[in-house]
């Protein structure tokens, strides 16, 4: 189906997202740091990036900025996947320019449908 990059430093959360995406037939590549995720994305741009916000080193906002700055990944949709769910977090994510916002805990029943919506929107228009 689609090749999706998941950047997430929590092993259990990654396992859950990975499991659900695999089950829906997607190909998952993953990284536990922003830098590693960025390297993967630049080497072979995925159809969608799901990115945690709080990461060691380069955080989700940094990853987003770097992806937007590189021509090869500028149009890849990037969705924030985060346990920061207070209203000001939501606002910050929106103004940063993420294409979407998924909060943890994710609801597995709806997750694949949400991912499908983000994939349909791809590629980003500029």
């Amino acid at each position: 189906m689609a090749r999706i990059l998941v950047i997430e430093d929590n092993a259990v959360n990654l396992a859950l997202v990975d499991y659900l995406l695999h089950h829906a037939g997607h190909q998952v590549v993953s990284a536990a740091t922003g830098e590693a995720g960025l390297a993967l994305a630049l080497a072979d741009p995925p159809a969608l990036v799901l990115c945690d916000l709080q990461l060691p080193g380069l955080d989700g906002y940094g990853v987003l900025a770097a992806l937007r700055a590189a021509a090869i990944t500028a149009c890849v949709p990037v969705v924030a996947l985060t346990a920061f769910s207070m209203s000001d977090d939501r606002e910050r994510v929106r103004t940063a320019g993420f294409d979407g916002y998924l909060t943890k805990p994710i609801e597995p029943e709806g997750f694949i449908g949400q991912v499908a919506v983000f994939l349909q929107q791809a590629p980003r228009g500029h």
């Binding site: 959360n13 859950l16 207070m86």
Partner: protein, 386 residues
Amino acid sequence: MTEAVQPSERETASLQAHFGELLESMPDGIVMVNAEGRIVVANSQAERLFGYGIDGLRGLAVDHLLPARYRDAHQGHRARYGQQPRKRAMGSGLDLWGLRRDGSEFPIEISLSPLRTAEGAFVLSAIRDVSERKRIEQALQEKNAELARANEAKDRFLASMSHELRTPLNAIIGFTGTLLMQLPGPLNEEQTRQLRMVQQGGRHLLALINDLLDVARIAAGKTEVQLSRVGLRTVVEDVAQTLHPQAQSRGLQLAVELPDGPAEAVTDRRLLSQILLNLVGNALKFTEVGGVRIVVHREPGGCEAAGSPWMLRVIDTGPGIDEADQARLFAPFSRAQTAAARQQEGSGLGLHLSRQLAELLGGSLRLNSTVGVGSTFELCLPATGG
């Protein structure tokens, strides 16, 4: 430049006779300065203030009461004041310093008044030592900075607590969900039943975390109220639409009654939605037969809110709440003690939170209920902002 002239004995004696007693009666240090910038009369408060003995100030150039770094500027100020004398206060907002005889400095406030006598033109300066006030101001400032830091720390703590508590719940709710979706393989009936309980527990915990954070934010005054012109029809219909599946799954009616024409209030859309979602969600949870109506209309004198507030009523045909329970319903963690209520999931903070939010919006939240008939929650909302 005028050569400094010592005030004459005659000048001094006459002024002293005129003003001496009056100046002594004043709480501030007072010096009278002649056109040449010499002190001709000073009260003992001024002499104490600057550390001069009896008659120590008389004849002194007034510049000597200023730290050296201000003297040049002061001569200019004095010359200009001489040309255009008027009464004025100096010092509030200015950083002025006095110089004691021993060389130490202290913060002062000064007010100046021109004085014209038979002996000529003088300037009367009232000088106040504001060390103590500065010290208190400084202490207050430090205290405020400390409080602000503590508040920020609390904010950061709340944000990280939310993040940290939600992260493990992701594993619990997530993998319970995959199991119940039977993605890894089929489940038997008992496994499904037990996993549903884990799932409910997880969701309950999530509701608790969210509501607790909201309560903490309100308590910390961190809930932002963003007022705008809000169409009540949209808000109420959105809420009804969101909760429609819940009503349907329980076989209940969910009806909305709005007035004809525009229904607008200056309020916070998000907070209003949060209150209504909570009230209607509750009503649906506790109602077995019949349904829930959301009735909106204007009600002058409907509550304490000024003007002609909106009354939003959430009316259910549930079991009703007896008077004893009504009294404590809005306190945290005090669900009605009926067996039916105990079975319901929920944080136990919803009504407490809703009432606090209603008050943040300048309104109120009340309950009318009759056991066996149903309950009506009345949200009174000012039409023009809180």
